[in-house]
Each structure stands twice: as structure tokens, then as C-alpha cells.
Symmetry: C2
Subunit: 328 residues, 2 copies
């Protein structure tokens, strides 16, 4: 069946607040650099009061990825839950403005739209504290199986393993994609998410996942071993695994094959927020278009290099133009 969408994504619908911070600030707030921590609204207000001047930008891991897919010219659908508030309007505006179909009903009378407070240290690394708010109210009712079945690839973020109702929505979407014989792609999202849900994640990967995205820390956390051994465990467990390694590029495993993809040089390293998300955007766009895995990896690297060159988790230029300028 011809698909209506290249990629459908399900994820936490979040607006980011990004501020520059010194390493000493992470220490005094007892935050682990590079990680994502869940916080409640009271803690979010306390932390925000102590953070530096910020910029607000739509975020959410899978939402960033689907925005990247649309920026590459891909046909894109997003499912996620905002509230009927100002930040919910911002999220909705931004994802639609970049060309993504987003029709999930906003939540009225419940918690506020999710916020992620992101402190960016001078090395460009981002450290995130997320108040999930309305995002935890994503339920199976928000997933329309007939819409999911219309996408070549279903993309799911590991962060959805935290809110229980969202995980059920996630399972429903995977079943719809499986029934329609579509590809299911999944990102491990964060090493602490992996630690929290390791057994369930492994079971989900073994039964449902075709394409797995992970970074080095997540892959080693999943198998509680070193990087070389983690790659060994991944091989054959999924059809395709793409493991990102920051400045060292990425490794793509498929069957017995292994390909090393070089990191695309960034104009400058300002803020790594969204680097993994945009890598996935390029990779999935290439995959949906039937490109070689090497080209998929290159598209991912191009998108990641763009997003780390400025504050914020989504592309500021059309990724389609950037890819074309590089002959892809």
C-alpha cells in the first residue's frame, strides 16, 4: 500500500527553555551533565528562577525528529499531547509551520504543557530537566491506527517509557504499524531512561523494533557492558542499528555488515540539544526514500551538524537545501 506519510512520530510534546550555564551551576543544582531528569512543576519553577536568561523553542525528542523530517521535505505526522495554554499554542504553531501534520487534541483543565529546562554549558553540552505536564496525558485514544498505518515508518522515543499511559499509546501504535507491515524505528533517548526500564526496553526491542537509534552511553547502559560488546549484542537483534558517537561519527549495523559514518563538521559547536534527534531525522528521511544506509547516515550527520551550530533543537535552515548543497 502506498503510504500517505514517510514518517509518523509519537513523543512527548515539549517546549524547551534554553539558557547558558557554567559547569558550577550544574554542580550546585546536582545535575548530571548530558542527562535528562524528570522534575515536578514546583521544582521546575525553582530551577527556572535560578537559571540564566533563556530562549524558548519548541522541543520534544521525537517532535524534533519529525520537524527535521519535514525540513528535509518528508511527509510527516506527529502524535503528542499539549495543553490549551500559551506554550501549547507555541508547540502547535511551530510543528505545523514546518509542515508536519499534527492534529492531537490538546488537554483542557489538566496540567500545563510540558517544559524542558535546558542548561547549555560552554562545551555545548545540554543538561535537561523536564516537567512532563500534559504530555503524561497522552493515551491510547490519541493514537488512530488508520493514521499510523499510513506511514512508511513509525518512529517512537524511549522517553515515552516514563509516562505509563503514553507507553500504552506507544504499544497500540506499534501494533497498528506491524499490522500494516510498516517499519518501526525506536530511539533509546537517554541512558537513565534505559536504566529505569531496561528489561521492558529489551523486550520491546526484541518483539517490535526494526530500526534502533542509540548513542554510546545508551547502548552500553542497555547491555551493561562496554561499547564493543554492546555493538555485538545489537548485531542481529534489530534489522538496523544506528549508534551515534558525537564527534566520532556513527556506526550503522545491518545484518553482518558494519559501516562507519564520519561526523559532518559543524560551523561551530554552540548547543548539542537535538543532535541525536536530527541525526534520526536525516536517517529516517533517507530510509523512507530507499537510499543506501551510508547515505542515510550522511543525511543524519548533516542534520546533526546544522542543529549543534546554534541554540535550539530544530533546524534553522531548510535541511532539504543543505542536503542538496552536499549532493544528496
Amino acid at each position: 500500500m502506498t503510504a500517505l506519510y514517510d514518517v509518523a512520530a509519537i513523543g512527548n510534546a515539549i517546549v524547551d527553555v534554553l539558557a547558558s550555564a557554567e559547569d558550577s551551576f550544574l554542580e550546585s543544582e546536582q545535575l548530571t551533565k548530558g542527562s535528562m531528569r524528570l522534575i515536578d512543576e514546583a521544582r521546575a519553577q525553582e530551577l527556572y528562577a535560578r537559571m540564566g536568561a533563556g530562549v524558548e523553542a519548541s522541543g520534544g525528542s521525537a517532535a524534533n525528529t519529525i520537524a527535521g523530517v519535514a525540513s528535509f521535505g518528508g511527509r510527516a505526522l506527529f502524535v503528542g499531547k499539549v495543553a490549551t495554554d500559551g506554550l501549547g499554542e507555541v508547540f502547535t504553531h511551530d510543528i505545523r509551520a514546518i509542515g508536519v501534520n499534527f492534529e492531537s487534541a490538546p488537554l483542557a483543565g489538566g496540567p500545563a504543557t510540558a517544559r524542558c529546562l535546558i542548561n547549555v554549558t560552554p562545551d555545548g553540552e545540554r543538561t535537561m530537566c523536564t516537567f512532563l505536564g500534559a504530555a503524561v496525558e497522552l493515551t491510547p485514544a490519541d493514537v488512530l491506527p488508520e493514521a499510523i498505518a499510513q506511514a512508511e515508518i513509525l518512529y517512537l522515543e524511549g522517553y515515552l517509557f516514563d509516562p505509563p499511559a503514553a507507553r500504552a499509546a506507544f504499544t497500540k501504535a506499534a501494533a497498528a504499524a506491524r499490522t500494516a507491515n510498516r517499519t518501526i524505528a525506536f530511539s533509546l533517548s537517554d541512558a537513565f531512561v534505559v536504566e529505569r526500564h531496561r528489561a521492558e526496553l529489551l523486550a520491546f526491542i526484541d518483539t517490535e523494533v526494526d530500526v534502533l537509534f542509540a548513542n554510546e552511553a545508551e547502548a552500553t547502559a542497555l547491555f551493561q557492558t562496554d561499547f564493543a560488546q554492546a555493538l555485538g549484542h545489537l548485531r542481529g537483534r534489530v534489522k538496523i542499528a544506528a549508534v551515534t558517537r558525537g564527534a566520532q561519527g556513527s556506526v550503522i549495523l545491518a545484518g553482518d555488515g558494519e559501516q562507519q559514518i564520519a561526523c559532518e563538521p559543524a560551523a561551530q559547536l554552540v548547543d548539542t540539544t537535538g543532535a541525536g534527534d536530527q541525526y534520526a531525522a536525516g536517517f529516517l528521511t533517507g530510509l523512507a526514500a530507499g537510499r543506501s544506509l551510508a547515505d542515510c547516515g550522511r543525511l543524519g550527520s548533516i542534520a546533526a551538524a546544522e542543529v549543534v551550530s546554534h541554540f535550539g533543537p530544530r533546524p534553522q535552515v531548510r535541511l532539504k537545501d543543505l542536503a542538496a548543497a552536499r549532493g544528496l
Copy 2:
């Protein structure tokens, strides 16, 4: 009397929404590139719906300048009106986080916090549409003469000539600064503002202003003549006039003297929003510290070069460090 602040600023308290746009979008929306237009809330919603994906960042011309002064390490006070809403919290957080004293009471039960919808074209030029909202409710009661008297320099933005009550607040502040024998600095803000209020602006400049900031378009609009003649009219009308000319740098007039200040090269030209505001920040910081006019101009140019290199109207690095790295 020793001053508690280097600079006190009064201006519209605004949160910016910045999005990339093609030139054809400005044409279809009938917007004049580089200008600021006032719009009502309904038009703001319509325009926002058609704009691209955006980022939100605290703005407001004099507010950007005072944030720049604080970033240079200057002691800074801001007076302006937000509402008790989400954007009002963002504005208040950001200006305090950068080190500015901001204690103006927010407006409850009235219009929303002011928003400025900014379309940034590929040439980096910004075109602004402002819904003033709560900012028009700034009144003389918000100006505490004893606080204004505590600042070496009072800085006022020409945009405040639009809301009538704000103009009265502005006049009250100028009287307080004059009584305390302080310096009064003023920015013409926008060529259309100048067209709307030309006679009143000239009268205000002649009676109250010591230091005038203008760009080329504003200076020629004020005297309805060419640039060379406009400089002639400015000479002697105020103690100091600093006229910015984009990539051509700036001209500083003081008494019979005239100094040309070169433009500081920017790492990249992304978004000119806040360029004039940050020039004023550097200049005023230098002036309050008793530096030479050439150094004031250089500090202004350094701040302007930083802000045009990224999206958003306020510095993303500490201007104090940037100035030190350049030996200032």
C-alpha cells in the same frame, strides 16, 4: 552624588517571536522590510498563524539595551510594563537573570504582555510587527523619580512616543533625571516612529536630550533631508549624537568634532534584531565609565557584532568578556 546605577532605561516590555521568512512573505503581508509596525491582537494572531516556526526571546528596544549594559557589567535599572501572564514571567525572569534591577508592578486583568512578531529574511534584516498589549499601560505612576535620580544616565526609547500614557511616564523620568543633573540619552527607534511624531520628537530632543542615537534612516527622516545634511542639523543640537550605518560603522558627533567608528566584523550575519539596541548598550556603558567617545563607539560595535551573529535581540555571551578579549 554617587550614582547607584550606571544606566536606567524605560521602554516597552516585549517578548519577541522570531521566525525565518522569505522576502515574498513580507510582500504578501504588505510589510516594509526593516520597519516596525503596530498591530492589534487579532492581526497578531492572524500573522502568527502564517509565520514560520519560531523561537521566543525577551525583547523590547530599551530592555535589550539595558540587558546589554548588564552583560558588560554595568549597574542597570529597567522600568516597563508586563502583564501577569506567561510571557510576562519570561520577560521578568530574563531581564533579572542577566542582572538588571526590574521591579515595575505587572498589570493584572488588562491586556496581555506585549509581543513582537519578527520575520527575519535571508539577508539577516528583521521586520517587526508589535502588539503593545500591557506595555501601553505604563504610566507616570510607574516612574519613581528617586530611582531615576540614582542613575548616571537615563535611557529612553523613541517607541514610547506611541503609547500616550508611556510618553507622560517618559517626560516624568526626564524631569527627574534633569533635576538630579544626570545625562539623558534617547534613541529615535524607527523611521516610521519619527514620521509619526516628528515635531514632538524635535521639541523633546531640543529641550531634554544630551545623547542621541539614530540610524541613517531615522536621522534623515527627522530632518527630511539627505544624510550629510542630517548630520549638519544634528551637530550642536545635542551634546553627543551617535549615528549607526550598518556595515559602514557609525559616526559620532560631539561639539565640532566628528569620529568615524568602523563596523566590528561579525562571525556571521544571521539576524539584525537588536543591533542598534546593543550598539547603544556598549556606547552607554563606555560613557558611564568615562571612556573616550571612540572607545564608546567601539564597545557599541562589539556588542552589535555579537548580536547579529545569532537569532534573538540580546547577547548570548558575556559582553564584558568579549570587550576584555579586545582589550577594552
